[in-house]
C-alpha cells in the first residue's frame, strides 16, 4: 500500500470527438452572430438567456441525466468536452453552469419526484438559473458554522438570516442552500444543517449586489426575512446536510473550469510572440503548455473515475489545488513573458486588456468553491495525516 494516487490515462472515446466538432461549430456560429466576443472575458453579457436556451436545445444541459427528466443519458466524458469547449471559447455560461454541474445532480439525488419532474427539464432547456447558498457573513470555509435559521412552521420552514458571496443570486431563479434546523451536538459539530431548495424572486428575499475588485457585480448578499419554504423543498435528511455535501465535491472540483478560467491570456500570448519566438518566450510557453496538458490529463482521468461510478474526492481536490494555483499564476507568467513582445504585435492591445482583467480575477480562483487551505486539508486526510 502506498499513499500515492492513480490517475490512469483515460482517453476520450470517439463519440466525444464528434461532439466536440458540433460544439465548436455551434460556438463559431454564436460568435459570428455576435452573441459574445471570445476575446473579451470581462464583458457584461455573462447573463445571456437566449444563448442558454439554445445550448439547452442542443441537448447539452443535464446531458448525463435520465431522459425522463429531460437529460440525454450521455457520459461524463461527453459533458466534459462540452464544458471545456465552452470555457475555452469564453462562452457566456453563467446562467446555466451551476445548475448543470451541481444543482441538478443534487436535485436528482435528494428532491422528491414531483420537484424533479418540474425543475430538471427546465434546467435542461436552459430556462432557469441556480445559485448556491453556502457562505454566511461569519461562515465561509467553515461551512458548518452556518447560522441562518430554518424554523419549523405549518407545512414548511421560516428562514431568517443572511447568505453572502452568492454568485448569480441576482439573476437566479432558484438557490440550493443550507440552513440551520437544529443546534450542533457535542459529538458532531456538523449536525443540524439541512439542505433546501429555495425559490428566488419571492417576497422575504432581498438580494444586494456586491462590487468585486474586477469591477463586476457577480456575487451578492442574500437576506432572508421570514421567508417560507414548503416541506417538499427539503433536500435529503433534516439536520443531515453534512452527509450529503462530500460526494458532490468531486464533480465541483475536478472539471476543466478549474484550470481554464484565465486560459485566454495564454492563447493571446502565443499570438503576440508570433511563429518564431525567442528562446525566453519559447521556454515560457513550453512550460505553461506542459503544465496545462498535465492538468487536463489529470482532470480527464477524474472524469473517467466519475463515469466509472467512483467518488474520487481526494483526486478532485488535487486537480483543483494544482489547477487553481496554476490559473492564478498564469496571467502573471504571461505578463512576464509579454514584457518584450514587439510594440507592433497586432493583438497587443487585446492582450493588455485581457491581462488587466485576468490579473484582477486571479485572487478569487484559489478561494471560490473550496479554498486551497481546505483542499490541502482534504488531501492530508486522504494521506492519513488527520
Amino acid at each position: 500500500m502506498t499513499a500515492a494516487l492513480r490517475f490512469d490515462p483515460i482517453r476520450l472515446p470517439p463519440e466525444c470527438e464528434q461532439l466536440r466538432k458540433e460544439v465548436r461549430a455551434f460556438l463559431a456560429e454564436e460568435i459570428a452572430a455576435g452573441t459574445f466576443d471570445p476575446h473579451k472575458p470581462n464583458r457584461e453579457d455573462t447573463d445571456a438567456p437566449e444563448f442558454s436556451r439554445r445550448v439547452g436545445a442542443k441537448g447539452w444541459l443535464g446531458m448525463t441525466w435520465p431522459k425522463k427528466y429531460g437529460g440525454q443519458e450521455r457520459s461524463f466524458l461527453e459533458r466534459y468536452v462540452v464544458t471545456e469547449e465552452m470555457r475555452v471559447a469564453n462562452a457566456p455560461t453563467r446562467r446555466f453552469f451551476v445548475a448543470d454541474r451541481q444543482s441538478g445532480p443534487v436535485l436528482l439525488k435528494y428532491a422528491p419526484e414531483h420537484i424533479k419532474m418540474e425543475i430538471l427539464p427546465r434546467i435542461c432547456r436552459g430556462e432557469i438559473c441556480f445559485a448556491i447558498g453556502m457562505s454566511e457573513p461569519n461562515s465561509g470555509s467553515d461551512l458548518f458554522a452556518a447560522k441562518t435559521r430554518a424554523t419549523k412552521t405549518d407545512g414548511g420552514y421560516l428562514i431568517n438570516g443572511t447568505k453572502i458571496w452568492t454568485s448569480s443570486a441576482h439573476i437566479a431563479d432558484y438557490m440550493i442552500a443550507i440552513f440551520r434546523t437544529s443546534p450542533p451536538t457535542k459529538e458532531n459539530r456538523r449536525h443540524g444543517l439541512t439542505q433546501f431548495l429555495v425559490k428566488m424572486k419571492q417576497p422575504g428575499i432581498k438580494v444586494n449586489p456586491i462590487g468585486q475588485i474586477t469591477g463586476q457585480y457577480e456575487f451578492n448578499e442574500v437576506v432572508f426575512t421570514d421567508y417560507f419554504i414548503p416541506d417538499d423543498y427539503v433536500l435529503g435528511e433534516v439536520d443531515g446536510a453534512w452527509k450529503q455535501a462530500t460526494s458532490e465535491l468531486a464533480y465541483e472540483r475536478s472539471g476543466p473550469e478549474r484550470f481554464l478560467e484565465t486560459y485566454y491570456v495564454l492563447t493571446e500570448l502565443v499570438r503576440a510572440v508570433g511563429p518564431n519566438p525567442d528562446t525566453r518566450s519559447a521556454e515560457g510557453i513550453g512550460r505553461l503548455v506542459a503544465q496545462l496538458h498535465t492538468m487536463r490529463r489529470m482532470s480527464v482521468s477524474v472524469a473517467g473515475m466519475l463515469q466509472a461510478g467512483k467518488e474520487p474526492v481526494v483526486e478532485a481536490s488535487i486537480v483543483k489545488d494544482i489547477g487553481t494555483v496554476w490559473e492564478q499564476q498564469l496571467p502573471h507568467r504571461v505578463r512576464d513573458l509579454a514584457a518584450f513582445v514587439e510594440e507592433t504585435a497586432t493583438n497587443r492591445e487585446t492582450l493588455e486588456r485581457q491581462l488587466d482583467f485576468a490579473i484582477k480575477t486571479a485572487p478569487k480562483l484559489t478561494i471560490q468553491g473550496g479554498t486551497t487551505e481546505v483542499l490541502r486539508g482534504i488531501i492530508a486526510r486522504g494521506l492519513g495525516l488527520r
Binding site: T2, A3, A4, L5, R6, F7, D8, P9, R11, R20, E84, E85, V88, Y263, L266, T267, E268, V270, R271, V273, G274, P275, N276, P277, T279, S281, A282, E283, G284, I285, G286, R287, V289, A290, Q291, L292, H293, T294, M295, R296, R297, M298, S301, E315, I318, D321, I322, E373, L375, R376, G377, I379, A380, G382, L383, G384, L385, R386
Partner: protein, 354 residues
C-alpha cells in the same frame, strides 16, 4: 500506485523487494547488492523486455516495459535496467539482436551527435551517458550522409571518462574515435535522434514519478512517527499542507508520465500529439522532482540530509534524471517553438486532442 496488475511488474517488484531493499542497499558501502540484483533481473528477462523474442529478448509490450520503469523508479535502484531496456529497444528498431549483459544508449543528450564515417566507423563525443562505465555494449544512433543509422558497439572500443551525476550514479563521457561497430543498420524511416530522446525522456519521467511516489510514502510515514513540540509532526497544519503539495506533485508526475507512456505505446508515429505528451512529461516530471523532492527533505529535516537515511536515494536520482535525454529547459523551448509555429488558434486543438 496500487498493487500491480501486470506480471512483468509483479516479477520486478518481487526481485526488488528481495534484493534491493532500500535500507539494506543504502548500508552496503561496497555495492555488493548490485551483482545479484542484476543477475536476478537478467534471469527474469527484464533488461531486454523491449527486445522481441527473435532478437534475443523477452518481447514484452511497450506498455509493460513502461510500467516496469515506473516500478524501477519506486526502488531507485542503481543498475542499468532502464538503460539496457532503451538500448535493446533502439537496436530492435533496426532489427539488430541484443547481446547479453549491461548496455546503454549513446548519445543521451539532444545536443550530442555521433557521426557515421564513410568507412563505416563511428566518431563523436557524447556526454552524460548513464552507466557507460558498467556497460558491455552501446546502442548508438549515428548520423551519416545517407541518414540515420543504429549500431551496436563494443564498449571496450570507446574511450570513457568516468563521471557521476547528482545522484551518485555513473554519468560518463563516451568518445568514439573511428570505432568499427559490431553491427550497423539504417534506422527505420522517420526515426531520428528526437524520437530516441523523447523515448528516453519518457523512461526518465516514469522513473522520476516512481521516485516521487516513494518519497511521498516515506515522508508520510516519517511525519507519523516523528514527534516534535509534544506531538507527531503530521498533526501540524503546515506539515500537512506541505505533504498535500507533495502528493499533488507526485500525482502530476505520475499522470504526465503514464499518459505519455500510453501515448507512445499506442502511437503509429511520433507526431505532434506524441511530442506534446512526451515533452510535457519530461518538463512536468522534472519540475515535480524539484518541488516534490524539496518538500520531502523539508519534512524529514536533518536526518534526510544524511547518507545513512534512504531519502537521498530517491531525491537525488530524481533530480539527476532531469538531465538525461534533454532537460526540461530543452524540451520547454522545443515545445514552445512547436506551439508558436502551429499558431495561437491551434494550441487548444492540440491540447484537446489528447
Amino acid at each position: 500506485m496500487a498493487e500491480s496488475d501486470n506480471i512483468v511488474v509483479e516479477t520486478a517488484e518481487k526481485i526488488f523487494a528481495d534484493l534491493a531493499d532500500p535500507q539494506t542497499i543504502n548500508n552496503d558501502k561496497k555495492d555488493a547488492w548490485q551483482a545479484p540484483l542484476w543477475q536476478a533481473l537478467t534471469e527474469a528477462g527484464l533488461p531486454l523486455s523491449w527486445v522481441p523474442d527473435d532478437l534475443g529478448g523477452s518481447g514484452a509490450s511497450l506498455a509493460d516495459g513502461f510500467a516496469l520503469l515506473n516500478a524501477a523508479g519506486r526502488f531507485a535502484v542503481a543498475v542499468p535496467l532502464a538503460e539496457t531496456m532503451l538500448a535493446g529497444w533502439l537496436l530492435a528498431q533496426a532489427k539488430i539482436a541484443s547481446p547479453d549483459g549491461e548496455m546503454t544508449v549513446v548519445p543521451a543528450s539532444p545536443k550530442d551527435r555521433i557521426t557515421l564515417n564513410a568507412d563505416g566507423s563511428l566518431s563523436g563525443r557524447a556526454r552524460g551517458i548513464p552507466f557507460a562505465k558498467a556497460a558491455k555494449h552501446f546502442a548508438v544512433l549515428a548520423h551519416g550522409t545517407g541518414g540515420v543509422s543504429i549500431a551496436l558497439v563494443d564498449a571496450a572500443k570507446a574511450r570513457i571518462e568516468a563521471g557521476l551525476n547528482v545522484g551518485y550514479d555513473h554519468s560518463d563521457t563516451v568518445t568514439l574515435d573511428n570505432v568499427q561497430p559490431v553491427t550497423l543498420k539504417p534506422a527505420p524511416k522517420g526515426f531520428d535522434q528526437t524520437t530516441m530522446m523523447l523515448m528516453g525522456g519518457v523512461a526518465r519521467s516514469l522513473q522520476i514519478a516512481g521516485a516521487l511516489e516513494s518519497m511521498l510514502d516515506i515522508s508520510v510515514r516519517y511525519s507519523n512517527e516523528r514527534v516534535a513540540f509534544e506531538k507527531k509532526i503530521s498533526k501540524f497544519q503546515a506539515v500537512q499542507h506541505n505533504l498535500a503539495r507533495l502528493a499533488g506533485e507526485s500525482a502530476a508526475a505520475l499522470a504526465a508520465a503514464t499518459s505519455a507512456a500510453d501515448a507512445i505505446a499506442n502511437a503509429k508515429s511520433f507526431d505532434d500529439e506524441v511530442y506534446l505528451e512526451a515533452a510535457s512529461a519530461k518538463i512536468r516530471c522534472a519540475e515535480a522532482a524539484e518541488k516534490g523532492g524539496g518538500i520531502a527533505h523539508q519534512v524529514h529535516g536533518a536526518i534526510g540530509f544524511t547518507m545513512e537515511h534512504i531519502l537521498h536515494r530517491y531525491s537525488l536520482r530524481a533530480l539527476a534524471w532531469r538531465d538525461d535525454f534533454g532537460s526540461e529547459s530543452h524540451w520547454a523551448v522545443e515545445l514552445g517553438k512547436l506551439v508558436a509555429n502551429r499558431g495561437a488558434d491551434e494550441l487548444w486543438p492540440l491540447v484537446a486532442s489528447r
